[in-house]
Structure formats: structure tokens, C-alpha cells
Amino acid sequence: MYKLLLSWRYLRTRYIALASIISVTLGVGTLIVVNSVMAGFAREMHVRLHGILADVIFEAHDLNGFVNPLWHMAEIRKVVGDDLEGMTAAVHVPAMINIQVRGQWLTRQVNLIGVDEETYAQVSDFRQYLLHPDNQKQLSFLLREEGYSESARQLPPSGWKYRRLKSHYEREYELQQRMLRQALGEPDPAAEQAVSPASDSAAGDTVPSDSIATDAVPESEILATVPENPLDAARADEPAQVFDPSTHQHAGIVLGIAIGSVRQRNAAGEVQDYFLCRPGDDVRVTFPTAGMPPKAASEQCTVIDFYESKMSEYDSGFAFVPISWLQEKRVMGDAVTTIQLKLKPGTDLNAVRDRLRERFPADEFPYRIQTWRDMQGPLLAAVQMETTLLNILLFLIIAVAGFGILATFFMIVVEKTRDIGILKALGAPSRGVMSIFLSYGFSLGLVGSGVGMIGGLLFVYYINQIAQLIEIVTGQEVFDPTVYYFQEIPTIVHPLTVLGVVIGAVLIAVAASVLPALRAARLHPVEALRYE
């Protein structure tokens, strides 16, 4: 009984000891916050990475891919069996995209991916990341009439409406210019026409036929009425038909959002998106053909949607086009560069991968078979490593706190030498005296880590509000959305981690009180009593 009473009294009267556990509190609190945020980050990254990558990926060594994908897919279906949920083939090729911004051509480097509209969405979350709500349901490489601004991103007006207005305006401008020149008696606009395609094709040496057609629209067409249905008129590469941008589109392309826009702060310091192009605009895509030697093929495409996965690496690097179009323009037949598999949830990916590797040995087949984890291994490992390191560092903080407790306790034992002697003179066994200090350390650890736990959990719970508060106070953005694509700081609280941290901290506090407690237990009562 006296042990409880005394350690309680010591706890209440020795505030210095409470000070020594503040570092325990802080350590526990930070550990919980760090682990929660890191877990949130890691999960977000897993979801994002896996959202784009299929479960198992066949990746050709050769940019020109491998032929006969249908045979491969049939064989894969045989090997994988019932676990297979979806499968698609795609063509990856490095490419350049030219975007016209206020008369200037911007060139950007991208990874052009030819995807199958029907099956690509089966293997990954690709569709969810498209902005247009209808494209999220069913991807089509045709421009939609409108509805792009319904997405989370505040897109400026886009779609056919915008495209018609734009081409209208351009033609009227052209007409005005022509009339102006005629009035001034300047050379015939036909000469002007010869110049404009040349400047248009500065990037490549081939001038696509439809590009000439664009500029060669007869004057009578300019005042043409709005088309009955833009989707009917969308067969862009019909060579016989004259291309009219207000009713026709080129091959559809989906651009990563960071290719088509720039996220920056404006003068007021607010984060803003500047769009270089939008759905309805035409861009020029240049990529190598499959022939030997490879030639550059340059094609016009119409942006039909943006793609936003919030992984900046993907959003600034990927552009999607229909696979058949890409195969045709690259002159590669039916060859594909990747086959991607989606497996049923819970399937052992590594086992399937190994079975496939057995069926398609590397010395016979020109591709690499990997799971998505294999492909993103270094990144995931880095996050894991970071978490581990932080945990070690923070536990070191708690260990430092443990030494603080040790020192404080030694002081208290020295200070309490006489009291220890009294207790022993009254018949308290050494074990009892020892347990006073152990339970004292235990309760300090419990109080310290309990307060730390509550504080840490509250912090995690209100982390976004706290970030906002810090932002208001300091004027500095804590969680910069131009750097991170997350709107909010993601957090996950694992109860087991919290429990482990608390138990660890309490153990450290108890361990730190063992030595002083032993010393107290060994004190000779007579010497302690003579102590004045």
C-alpha cells in the first residue's frame, strides 16, 4: 500500500520528474504522428502506383515490341487460368508533343502509349483518372461536346463547343487579314498559304496531308453552319473528305494533366493552373516509326481529355492514343511492347509471375516479366526505409528521455535516502522500496506516453487544420500543392503501432528506473538514518 501512496505522492510533488518525461511525451507524440503520416503516404503511393500499373507486366526489350500478341495472350490465359481478371496489350514509345500557345509552339517530351479502349481499363484504374465523367465510365477517343468542367479540376470551357468557337474565330481573323491585304494591294494570299504550312512543319520534315487541308479550307466553307452531330463528323483521317476543324477531329489523344497545364502560384501567392491546351485543341505528336532506320512520324492529334493520377511522374509524362492508330502510324503491324495482366484480388503475384517466367523463358522471348511491385520496388523501398529511419531516430529520442529519467531518479533516490532508511526501519522489505521507484518510473512512463499518445492522435486527427493554422500564422504553405498532388495530408493510424510505441516508451521509462531503484533497495538503513 505504501508503495502506491508514496509513488503517487512523489509523482505529485516532484515536478522535475514530470519535466523529464516531457521528452517521452514528445517522442511518443511525434512517433505516432510520423508513423501515421508515413503510413498514409505509403498507402496513397501504393494506391497510385498500382492504379496505373497492372499486376503483372510483360515489357519488351525492343521499342518495336514483339509480334503476335494474340497468341501470347492465349498462352498467358492458359498459364494463369482462373486467376486472370483482365488483360490488355499496349504500345509504349517515346514521343514529342508540340502545343501551340499564343502562336508559339512548345515542345514537350512524353511517353506515348497506344491503348486498347476496350480492355485497357480492365487492368488498371486508368479510367478513374480521366477528367470527363463519361470517359470515366467508358473511354472513347472522341471529343465530347462539353462537360469537362464538371471534374474536380476547374477546366476552362472545352469540348466541341469550344472547338467550334475557336475555329470560327480563327477563320474570321484569317478573312479579315486577307481582306486587309487585298485592300492594301499586297500580294495574293495564296503566297501566304505557301508559307504557313512550312512554318507549321518546322518540327518534322514530313507535312501530313491533313495539315495542308486545314489551311486550304475554301472560303465558302468558312461560313458553314454548325454540324448536325460532331460525333458523326469525327472520322478525322478520312482522306477524301475535307478537314474542317469545327466539325472534324484528328485522332484523339489523352494528355497527362501536367503536360497540358502548369501549376504555379499567381501574384497573390495562390496556387493556380495555367492551361497550355484543353480538350478540343489540336497538338502535334512526333514519334519514331518501326522501320529500319527509324524515321520520325509527325501527326496531328486532338486533345480529348486530360489524365490526372496525382503522381507527378505519370501526369507529366504520359499521353494516350488508340493502339490501332499508333500501330498503323508506326508501321509495326500487330506488334505490341507490353502485355498487362490484372489478377483476381488476393492472388499471389510472385507465384503467377514465376509461372509465366517458366512458360516464357528469357532466352527465348524478348521481354521481361515483372509484377508492379518489382517495377516500383526502389520507390517503395525508399519510403519504407525512410519510415524505419525515422522510427529509429525517434526511439533514440525516447531513449535520451530514458537517460533523463535515470538521472532524475538518481537525484530523487539521493534526496530520499533518509526516507528509504525510515521505510526500512519500519520494516519495509528491500523489494518494496525497489518497487516504489519502479512503479514511480512506470507511472511516469505511463503518464508521459499516455499524454503523448493522446496528443499525437489529436494532432493526426486535426493535421490538416493544424497545417492551415500554421499557414495562417506564418504565411508559409506547409503542404505545398504545387509540390504534392494531394489536397490533404494523408494519414493512417495503425492501432498496433500506437500500442507498440506506448509500450516501448513505458518499458524505456521502467528500464531507466531500474538502476536507481536497485540502489535504493541496497541502501543500508543505518547509514540512511544517520544521514541528516
Binding site: 500500500m1 505504501y2 502506491l4 501512496l5 508514496l6 505522492r9 512523489y10 510533488t13 533518509r418 526516507d419 532508511g421 525510515i422 521505510l423 526500512k424 526501519a425 519500519l426 520494516g427 519495509a428 522489505p429 528491500s430 518494496g432 543500508h524 538503513p525 543505518v526 538514518l529 544517520r530 541528516e532
Partner: protein, 288 residues
């Protein structure tokens, strides 16, 4: 105020924890229960002096036999006690006198099993106690001896009442203490009333005067209904009047309750108040 409950009587001997459960492994435990049947109240014993079954003690409660103790200062051995022999009978009030540094405190610590002699024996109720294991000595100090000191030695974190209850708290676990708290608190309050401190129950020691602290210490020493009170210069730090009051309490306890008291002092005047005086000179008992 009843002075009947302060010191054990025959009727409540049986309920004394010390009597029912002696120190484990020690010789006291086994024999003190055997003694229970034969031993009678010290007052009767002193008066009637006729207990033939008590073959060993022959009316001694505590005896020191050829006690020797020396301290080491580096390599030099400093002998303090060089063969102390004396005995205390039940119900006696004995004073040990000697100059400062003559080894009185050392002797009292040995008798109270706070320290072990180099050689010699200490016999309590017919059983040797100096060689008991630590646990047995703890029990002995907790239940059979009461001790008061020159510097009071109260626990500064506890109130007067809690200080008095400290030996009970040490004896009992949390649950049994809470279970019996009512009875023990009652008794502690009675004791504090007896020493005249019933108005200071919730004061901390630093809020008390020296005399009040020593009264608290006396109440604490009596809470376990000990057979023997060991007092080390209980008036040494008090002015004459307060010291006289403390001494009066001790004398009354001895007279009215039959409590056996062994008191150490360097003051001849105080020693004269005792029944008997033992003089300590050069580590030996000198003729009084």
C-alpha cells in the same frame, strides 16, 4: 480516551498479526506461537512472577550477549562495542546512558536489527534474532518493535495520520489495507489523541513543531502494538519543557500500559526518570 487498547492485552494478542504469522524461516515465528500459550501479560508476569513453563527467558524480553561491533575507516578498525551484556525484563523502563560517540545509537540499531553485530547474540523472547534472514528482521521491526529517533524521521510526503499508519501500510497489501482501513484509521486517531495531536491529523511534518513530530513518531511506533519500544535520544533535539512532555508520555505508557521501553540518552537527568540505568563506557556496560 481509553488507555486499555494501546498496548497488547491477552485478549487481543491472538489477533496480532505478529503472533499469528511470525517471520518466515526465522526462529521467532515458530517459537512465538508456541510461546503464546505460555506467556501472559507483562504486568501480570512482573507482578506474579510465576510462570514455570517459560523456561528460557526467565523474565527477559530482550537480551544482548557479548555484542561486538566495529567500524572500518579505511584499513583502520574502530571498535565501538566490545562485548555488551545486558537484559531487559518485560515492563521495564531502561535508560542507556553514555557520552556522545560511546556507541549508544550503534547498540540500539543492533538491538533493533537495523544492523548486524560482528559477534555476540541478541535474544528476543528467547529467540536469537541477530542472525535472522532479512525478511524475518523486517517483520520483527514492523510488528514487534517500535522505534523513535532523535530526528523524528517522519516521511515528509505524508500527513501526520498517514505517517502513523505507515507501518500498517507496509504490512498490508493494497486490498487488505483498503478493507481494514476503517479500523486502523480509528486506532491511529486514538493514538494521536493520546499523544495530544488530534488537531493535527492532516498536517505535513514540516508544518509541525519538534515536539509534535516526536509525538507523531511515538504514535507511529505504537500502531502495531509492539512489545518493545526502542528510543534513541527522543528528547535530544527538544527544549527542556517539550522534552519533559515527551518523557511524561513515555513514562505513562510504561506505567499504565506496561510497555517495555529501552531509551538511549546522554542526559543523566533524563536517565534518572527511568526504572534502571545502564551505563555504556568504552564499549562495555559499566556498573551503574
Amino acid at each position: 480516551m481509553s488507555n486499555t487498547t494501546l498496548v497488547p492485552r491477552d485478549s487481543d494478542r491472538k489477533s496480532l498479526p505478529g503472533a499469528t504469522a511470525g517471520p518466515p524461516g526465522g526462529t521467532v515465528g515458530s517459537s512465538s506461537s508456541a510461546e503464546l500459550q505460555t506467556r501472559v501479560d507483562p504486568r501480570h508476569q512482573a507482578g506474579a512472577n510465576s510462570t514455570p513453563t517459560n523456561s528460557r527467558g526467565n523474565h527477559t524480553l530482550l537480551a544482548a550477549k557479548k555484542l561486538e561491533k566495529s567500524y572500518h575507516k579505511g584499513k583502520v578498525e574502530v571498535p565501538v562495542l566490545r562485548g555488551v551484556d545486558f537484559a531487559v525484563r518485560p515492563g521495564e523502563f531502561v535508560a542507556i546512558v553514555g557520552q556522545s560517540g560511546s556507541g549508544k545509537s550503534t547498540l540500539l540499531h543492533l538491538l533493533g536489527t537495523l544492523d548486524a553485530p560482528d559477534s555476540g547474540e541478541i535474544v528476543f523472547e528467547g529467540n536469537r534474532i541477530d542472525n535472522l534472514p532479512a525478511r524475518g528482521r523486517d517483520v520483527l521491526r514492523n510488528r514487534h518493535f517500535g522505534m523513535i529517533f532523535q530526528f523524528y524521521h517522519l516521511l515528509p510526503e505524508l500527513t501526520t495520520l498517514e505517517n502513523v499508519l505507515a507501518p500498517v501500510m507496509i504490512r498490508l497489501g493494497v486490498l487488505s489495507y483498503l478493507w481494514q482501513r476503517q479500523a486502523h484509521t480509528e486506532r491511529a486517531k486514538e493514538l494521536l489523541e493520546m499523544v495530544g495531536l488530534s488537531h493535527r491529523l492532516t498536517h505535513k511534518p514540516r508544518e509541525l513543531s519538534g515536539g509534535e513530530m516526536q509525538r507523531t513518531a511515538i504514535a507511529r511506533a505504537l500502531i502495531a502494538r509492539p512489545k518493545l519500544l526502542l528510543a534513541d535520544e527522543p528528547t535530544g533535539n527538544l527544549d527542556q519543557k517539550t522534552g519533559g512532555e515527551i518523557l511524561a508520555i513515555l513514562k505513562r505508557l510504561n506505567r499504565e500500559e506496561g510497555l517495555t521501553i529501552l531509551m538511549v540518552t546522554h542526559d543523566q537527568a533524563i536517565a534518572r526518570q527511568a526504572d534502571r540505568t545502564v551505563r555504556l563506557v568504552e564499549g562495555r556496560v559499566a556498573a551503574a
